[in-house]
Amino acid sequence: MNRITITIDGKAVETTEGSTILEAALAAGIYIPHLCHSPGLKPYGACRMCIVEIEGMRGMPSSCTTAATDGMVIRNDVEQVNKVRKMTCEMLIADHPLTCLTCQANQDCELQTLSSYLGIQESRLRRMTRDPKPEKDESNPFYTRDLDKCILCGNCTRACHELRGVGAIEISGRGYRSRVAAFGDAPVLESNCVSCGECVDRCPVAALTAKKETVPPSAFTITTCIYCGVGCGLSLGTRSNKIVQVLGDKESIVNRGSLCVKGRFGLDFVSSEDRLTTPLIRRNGQLEEADWDEALGFVAEKLKAIKEEHGSDALAGLSSAKCTNEENYLFQKFFRAGLGTNNVDHCARLCHASTVAGLARAFGSGAMTNSIDELEYADCILIIGSNTTEAHPVLALKIKAAVRSHGATLVVADPRRIEMTQFASLHIRQRSGSDVALINAMLNVIIEEKLLNEEFINSRTEDFDKVRECVADNTPEWAEPITGVAAEDIRTAARAYATAQRSSIVYSMGITQHTTGTDNVLALANLAMLTGNVGKESTGVNPLRGQNNVQGACDLGALPNVYPGYQKVDDAEIHDKFEAAWEATLSDQPGLTVTEIINAAAEGDVKGLYVMGENPMLSDPNLNHVKEALESIDFLCVQDIFLTETARLADVVLPAVSFAEKDGTYTNTERRVQRVRKAIDPPGQARADWKILCALAGRMEYPMAYEHPSEIMDEIADVTPIYGGISYPRIGKVGLQWPCPDKDHPGTVFLHEGEFKRGKGKFHPTPFRAADEEPDSDFPLLLTTGRYLYHWHTRTMTSRTEGLEQICPPVPVEIHPEDAAREGITEGATVEVSSRRGTIHANAVVTERSPLGTVFMAFHFHEGAANTLTNDAIDPIAKIPEYKVCAVKIKAAADRPAEIGAI
């Protein structure tokens, strides 16, 4: 970019070619008044406050829409311009309710600032009033729309269209009756608004206000969101030890200020009355309050006893993808070095174990190959098995931008008509469980039509012939009856992916949660290698990780077979290294996985289970089985912030703290290590997980002592090569992406450039296998599970936010109209859904979002827990259960249990 110089009011200002006059001025610290300029939105030029005079140009152009050119001479703060601005501002004032003193935006109102800058005391103009006065739209539970205060700057409508790709609101009407409206002037809750709050944050006045933000914050803390793996930067506004406002961190490279409804409005759980504030010990069948000394003593005693009596491997621990890197590191260190077992795993087993297994085999590293930002510049994006707008809403913005701003081709392969299909040029509705057949057929087309990248295959990969042979017969016509996708659509998808300059694959649990999960991932890796779409910018195979720190929990060794940094426990050299570093005797046998731990508990092999921040009583498949296992175990300790379904079964419950009450780091889905910062003090006696672990280890004769999590990170860097260069000072504001092997390494934006982690990329033949349990005459429908935008995981956090519950009440089951009609089920009717493993009640949502023959449920709701129905058959390599396919039957229920609510 060329540097150019312009002159504003006689002062030389240097700027970059392509920036507007307003941007140049603001960057140089020169104030040009403005109302409708909002960073990240396209120039709009509506408020006319930023008008200037430019030599050689007629009239008074707006500086926000006019590009700066070299040598431009601009007059800004001069009488003739200010006179026009002042009159324009007077018009706004004459049209604006003068209720500043009681207004929520008082002191934080750009119109107020502007009036004061222009010196407007009173307006000589007629008061302008709307007749009838517009009523406040209070329909949305999170924000109020008060059109009487609207200055029509268009920030909200543009944010909704340009940034979010939602378009719930638009300017309607003409002249003085112009107004921001949802379709048909209906209340905004009836529109397709997703309550992201982007409009609220960008409103310069009080036309859009967050309902709960009635108290202005006295301090802000920059931290990282607790919900999904995207890892949005948050700015927590606090006052009197409470979170009073949540904004997106505008400097975050991940989200640049944008958030989704959960991050923006869903943090009420932090101050929930239900938070655990004291340790609990089960006495006479009841959980009773206890003090820390007693509780920790009890836990230590129990763990010691089991270890002594049954051996270390009778103990198991579930670490947490919601806890920090440091806490995960300590948890597995405590189990391995303190207790002597590798029986440590966490819920990544249930979401992306097949990713880790598959991508490590193919590429040598089990993480997202590329970065979130790169998605926007891909020429073709294949989304398969990811309901991106609901599960990773802010990341979905990049994909929408790729399509809308840069003309990328989007292919969505998903059985359900998810929102992302609205942006796609092709929607493929493959039958759940047929992904390998679909991908193999795409490989077949690309090979047959010679669209493959031979140079890449020859120089960078091995074993291609095995795949060529494997898919030789997997023609689109072969795949059509298996997948239910027209052969021609498979061809179109294959061509789109293979012929684009840069193609990127985005997937999530629709790929991984199958008994063929690892094969699914390997097949996608084959697709990328076949076309050379890996190891360069805006390409790659990109698994979207679910939990905020599932990447970090894996990275830091909360897995039974690896130490931090994916270093194998059964590799003698590595084993020795860790024994030395941790000054302990370590087991060299890989431990049990989550699913195996539950089975071992049921069979009596595991006697003691320590759960940190997980809720297997809702998140694991075949819940009745899980319940039996946890009830039969000798000792169950749960460390959490709420009394979860699992904690209710525990012998000891230890109160931990939320992300807002501690320091640490999370690693997001693009391998970016980011800071979590303490904003408020924890409630009652609750303690940070890392402090609890240290205290417990002390009592177990394996002292772990740290003053601050940064010291833990320093230790992590010492023993974990991929984190070798990471430290708190370096993480700074924008984080650091691993691999980052040393203190001078800048971090890695995308993986496998020039060479794969494992040397050559390895093709793996993946012959098609059917799902473990297919529908039959007894259970004729296929159940697939997933998530809703408005809830998180087992709803422990989101159910504490009233608005989320209001928009998405329990317990919907989505069913195709024809399937519903056959069973005599109408919209909103209570139904009974049964599988071979159990029965639940739910409310029918009759919709074509579900394909014919398939019903969909989210697993959030304990009131009608979908995982009561799901199959615990597992992938043979990754041991991930098949959440995405099981056979069910559905019928109208005789009565409606109160807890499932109503649609």
């Binding site: 509506a46 408020c47 009239g59 324009t88 003409r174």
Partner: protein, 616 residues
């Protein structure tokens, strides 16, 4: 297809049309004709010739511009004179046909003019009519003369020869020719057409667009509609030449949905042009392609503004955006785009065909060529006229238009519709060209000319136009959305007796800010009617404010009504008409109007048969 072959076929067709070897009946069925009853007249014609066994061809044509005399019918017996009759009705047309064809009676008193070489006694030739004599018809040459749905008629009168010529030229040569002609945009702003094309030609891009702006929206303006309805191929030919010049292969005609006949005639014309290889791939066998589509606007005035028009074509809300970047750099879908108005494009074929010299022979130094105007309001002869630029306002209003009817005084003429300004009597000799009109505070605009007489209140006129722009403001920018509303509120106060003297200065100040501060042309010109009426008719504003009177006697809230006892016969009609029971009185006794109750609706004034209600 070879153009020479096409032309030969066309000439033959035209010859047959001119001389069908039997009687010939031509009727104007443009929207103006239809509004005056042309459809019904045509129906009677069809019926009559069958009943009376008159052997005649009946053809429809467009608008000849004599709107005051619609419906117009032209009759001719084989080898006889062609006579034009106006103001026909369902009742009068039958006897006229009988007289003309069977009775050899020309009905001279009903005839307007002759249009043939063969003269007829006592009937003046068409071009000698006072309305037509001062006109120079270039754009309107074919209007009302040819059948607009017959491409051969257009070709026979020289049509598509300009395109044929352009195909032999380099794009730069075409642009040079148009630049040399001095043609300026007829949509109102008056930017050099050739220069505009040049910008677009020079913009580098794989795709470019050529757009015809037919979103004519000024109240009282109908030039573009008439041209499209009467001579659609002229617009198409201009569009195709422009597309070749700038290098566009895709084009749109943005036309308001309220012009159904224009749309239908454009569709017909486009289809005919395609069949004759004049539109589509390989135009006249060349390597050049141009594909054209009609896009219907939904009636938003602002969509005539070119950036709003682009937004509308793109399917978003029709709101303007700031320029630069200009459409020539970044227009439709971000690609270089050229947008010209209907009349501008209709001039282009003539320039190519007859050369820029011929074109620029008309007009003044900076304003070359002719301009069409829709003459309306308080003027004797309303209609569509075309005059050489530089002609005086007086010549148009009094020469062509025949002055003010009913012996009333001329007060002002509004040019350029709601974006324009009014020109008072003392400036009647102002030459009609872009610069001179701007000096007078008005604008050339697209061509609406609304004449006002002594009964027109200028404050009310300002209020009327500001109300229009306020209603049509897209709402995007503050000065236009709120500034016009503010001016409207003040003007409403003044016209209803609630203004103060400070308001005049305030109106000027707001007007100044709206003009400088607004985003697009709509807002920038919206204050013109207010500022020019204050400039030339300040006394009327002052009379409203100081004396609570409306000099023109039209501002109802400023009028007072009273009953003249000498004239009142006590019939009770006013008592019954009064909606608020303000009038009392016994039968056959003079009635009394209670001022406190009167709402000044004028109902009593309207019903009184004895001039007993005084309005002042």
């Amino acid at each position: 297809m070879n153009f020479e072959d096409i032309r030969k076929r066309a000439l033959q067709e035209w010859q047959e049309f001119q001389d069908p070897g039997k009687a010939r009946i031509l009727i104007g069925t443009g929207t103006c004709g239809r509004a005056a009853g042309a459809d019904q007249v045509l129906e009677v014609i069809q019926k009559t010739i069958v009943e009376q066994d008159i052997e005649a061809t009946v053809s429809e044509t467009g608008c000849i511009g004599l709107c005051y005399a619609e419906p117009l019918v032209e009759l001719q017996k084989p080898n006889g004179p062609r006579v034009l009759y106006g103001n026909l009705t369902e009742e009068s047309i039958g006897p006229l046909l009988t007289d003309f064809f069977s009775g050899d009676d020309l009905n001279t008193s009903m005839a307007l003019a002759t249009t043939s070489a063969v003269s007829a006694d006592d009937i003046p030739p068409l071009n000698e009519l006072p309305m037509l004599k001062p006109q120079v018809r270039v754009v309107l040459k074919n209007c009302g003369v040819i059948d607009p749905e017959n491409i051969d008629h257009y070709i026979a009168s020289g049509g598509y020869a300009g395109l044929d010529k352009a195909l032999q030229m380099e794009p730069e040569q075409i642009i040079a020719e148009v630049k040399a002609s001095g043609l300026r945009g007829r949509g109102g702003a008056g930017f050099s057409t050739g220069t505009k094309w040049e910008f677009c030609r020079r913009a580098e891009s794989d795709i470019k667009y050529m757009i015809c702006n037919a979103d004519e929206g000024d109240p009282g303006a109908f030039m573009d509609r008439s041209v499209i309805e009467s001579d659609p191929h002229a617009v198409l030919e201009g569009l195709i030449i422009a597309a070749i010049a700038i290098g566009a292969e895709q084009g749109y005609i943005y036309v308001r949905a309220e012009y159904p006949l224009a749309i239908q005639r454009l569709e017909t014309a486009m289809e005919q042009a395609r069949q004759n290889d004049l539109l589509g791939d390989h135009i006249l066998g060349s390597d050049l392609n141009f594909h054209l589509q009609i896009k219907k606007g939904a009636g938003a005035f602002v969509c005539g503004e070119e950036t709003a028009l682009l937004a509308s074509i793109e399917g978003t809300r029709g709101m303007p955006r700031s320029r630069p970047p200009f459409p020539a750099q970044s227009g439709l879908y971000g690609k270089p785009t050229n947008i010209n108005n209907v009349e501008t494009l209709a001039n282009v074929p003539v320039i190519l065909r007859e050369g820029s010299d011929q074109f620029s022979a008309q007009g003044t130094e900076k304003s070359r060529g002719t301009k069409t105007f829709a003459l309306a309001g308080k003027v004797t002869r309303t209609g569509l006229v075309e005059v050489p630029l530089g002609i005086s306002v007086r010549d148009i209003v009094f020469g062509i238009g025949g002055g003010i009817p009913g012996g009333k005084e001329f007060k002002a003429v509004q040019t350029g519709g709601p974006s324009g300004g009014c020109i008072p009597a003392e400036l009647l000799d102002t030459p009609v060209d872009y610069e001179k009109l701007a000096e007078a505070g008005a604008i050339m605009g697209s061509g609406g000319l609304v004449v006002m007489d002594e009964d027109t209140c200028m404050v009310e006129i300002a209020r009327y136009f500001v109300n229009f722009t306020q209603e049509e403001s897209c709402g995007k920018c503050v000065p236009c959305r709120l500034g016009t509303h503010q001016m409207l509120q003040i003007l409403q106060d003044i016209t209803s007796g609630g203004g103060s003297l400070d308001d005049i200065a305030l109106l000027e100040e707001i007007g100044h800010s709206v003009r400088l501060g607004s985003l697009c042309g709509l807002g920038q010109t919206a204050p013109n009617p207010v500022l020019t009426t204050i400039r030339y008719f300040r006394d009327e504003y002052e009379a409203h404010i100081n004396d609570s009177t409306c000099p023109a006697g039209t501002c109802e809230r400023l009028l007072s009504y009273s009953i003249l006892p000498d004239n009142c016969v006590g019939c009770g009609a006013c008592i019954r008409a009064c909606p608020v029971e303000a009038i009392t009185g016994e039968k056959k006794e003079p009635h009394l109007l209670g001022q406190a109750l009167c709402i000044k609706c004028g109902a009593c004034f309207d019903v009184c048969k004895f001039d007993a209600v005084l309005r002042e």
